[in-house]
């Protein structure tokens, strides 16, 4: 099984060949994976320039695709994202890799659990957190057809199979008072394992902004919501709260804690340490019930 990242490079090369409006801006990362192309610009290790060049291309009518590690595409050039894309009123597709702790062994500098939260603080972003390489294909193709500001967050973590449906997909129905467990992107595999023998409704969500408020309302029959997000815990809590502002509800928001986590090792070790493996998710839900 190919990784999301490998799959993306193939899709990107194909888009460059087939769509004359597409241009790509890289900052070294990923360049060796791509065939040379006159509209693939490698600006060197200059991430502020990477975003601004994408903005310039968009102002001239191109559809820029920008790619780097999550901390270097979202956090380092944050003002360029806010002003050169948002304030200039142009779009781009930002495709990150590395996610929250894929490069756990690289330490804090290569971990970006806060990327979705900070990007979601800016207006007009569509944020995709695919859970499988085949889902990347779907959201990337859709993003290429628009001029929107789109973030696609790739990860080495992947569910066993893609989810076919789009949007907020209810995969399993519990009883009327059962908690609604919403698994975001690559957390689905562990969430399904954690809830296999629990009375729970389990839904899958791979597009977290705009947040599907109406679908959440429709799916929730009891009062309890459990959010399982693969990035900063609570990133979508305010969205859930707004969706249910007129309904009594309880919310358990699982994710990566807001802490300087000074550990290396493997992604799976970080997942377990943050309580995002099946055992951790299960224990949290049991304590919440």
């Amino acid at each position: 099984m190919t990784t999301m990242r490998k799959h993306f490079y193939g899709l990107a090369a194909e888009a460059l060949e087939q769509q004359p409006r597409v241009a790509m801006v890289f900052a070294e990362i990923g360049v060796s994976e791509m065939p040379r192309h006159p509209r693939l610009f490698n600006v060197g290790i200059r991430e502020q320039l990477m975003i601004s060049v994408a903005a310039g291309l968009a102002l001239e009518g191109y559809r820029p695709v920008v790619h780097s590690y999550a901390p270097f595409i979202v956090e380092r050039p944050y003002e360029q994202i806010k002003l050169d894309l948002g304030h200039q009123d142009v779009g781009a597709i930002l495709v990150s890799t590395g996610a929250s702790y894929d490069s756990a062994y690289s330490g804090r500098t290569h971990q970006a659990p806060e990327d979705v939260a900070v990007l979601a603080a800016l207006p007009g972003w569509t944020i995709h957190v695919p859970g499988h390489p085949q889902e990347v294909e779907r959201v990337f193709a859709r993003a290429l057809r628009t001029d929107d500001r789109v973030y696609i967050r790739l990860s080495d973590e992947s569910n066993h199979a893609p989810v076919r449906g789009d949007g907020f997909v209810v995969l399993r129905e519990g009883s009327g008072s059962a908690p609604l467990v919403v698994a975001v992107g690559p957390t689905l595999g562990e969430t399904l394992a954690a809830t296999g023998d629990l009375d729970a409704t389990v839904a899958y969500l791979a597009t977290v902004r705009p947040f599907p408020k109406a679908e959440l309302r429709a799916a929730l029959r009891g009062t309890d919501v459990v959010l399982v997000e693969p990035y900063l815990a609570g990133t979508s809590s305010a969205e859930v709260s707004r969706a249910l502002q007129d309904r009594p509800h309880r919310l358990l928001a699982l994710g990566v804690p807001n802490a300087e986590f000074r550990h290396y090792g493997e992604g799976a070790e970080h997942r377990a340490a943050h309580g995002l493996d099946a055992a951790g998710i299960r224990a949290s839900i049991a304590a919440f019930a």
Binding site: A23, R46, G56
Partner: protein
């Protein structure tokens, strides 16, 4: 257009007064006035783009845009007010003829590089002009753009640095040298001399970008 005839350079002080309500104009705005006028009066062709990166003190810019018919002269009086399109930093979404929104320093030149690459990619005849300030060059993001544009030989990019000597730490050895090291051609001119400005701005090289340092003595 709201005006039938185009206004001239001598009308600019009046257009500035409309905005400030005052005969004494903002010094930073005036430092750009001559370069802006020559650009719009003598240099820019329809395929060209002008990006004002140094969005501070934009009254000179608005005055030139009004003189050239991009915005109605009547709009100038509302400068900076709630319902005005004309703020203390220009917004491209609000103001016709404004190619980029600016205000935060160090964004225009990097965007200009992207636009130049885009014109290259589609084989346009257009040229990109970008105006920055000498103090604005303190922002590191500019140097990412200067390095890259020089190394890839972006011949369709010209940067005008308005050097009104406002950088607190100064540029020992001069601004031009820093661009030249990165592969740009550079020249320093009197930022009030219209013929010198015109000559410098129409200087183009196929294979490397050009910087014009316009000296403005306070």
């Amino acid at each position: 257009m709201a005006i039938a005839m185009q206004l001239g350079y001598d009308d600019l002080p009046g257009l500035l007064t409309l905005q400030t309500g005052d005969e004494k104009h903002d010094w930073s705005a005036l430092s750009t006035l001559d370069v802006l006028w020559v650009l719009y009066d003598r240099v820019l062709s329809p395929d060209d783009r002008f990006l004002l990166s140094k969005g501070h003190g934009p009254t000179a810019y608005y005055a030139v845009l009004a003189a050239k018919g991009f915005i109605p002269v009547e709009d100038l009086a509302g400068f900076g007010t709630f319902d005005s399109r004309l703020g203390y930093h220009p917004d491209r979404v609000l103001v016709p003829g404004v190619e980029i929104s600016s205000g935060s320093l160090g964004h225009g030149l990097p965007i200009a590089v992207g636009r130049a690459l885009a014109l290259d990619a589609r084989g346009s005849a257009g040229h990109i002009y970008c105006l920055v300030g000498d103090a604005e060059l303190e922002e590191g993001s500019n140097w990412e753009a200067v390095q890259y544009a020089g190394r890839v030989g972006l011949g369709r990019l010209t940067v005008v640095v308005i050097d009104n000597h406002s950088s607190t730490q100064h540029w020992p050895g001069g601004i031009s040298r820093r661009f030249e090291v990165e592969g740009w051609s550079a020249e320093r001119i009197d930022g009030r001399d219209h013929d010198a400005i015109e000559r410098a701005l129409i200087t183009r090289h196929d294979d490397w970008p050009h910087v014009v340092v316009a000296d403005i003595q306070p």
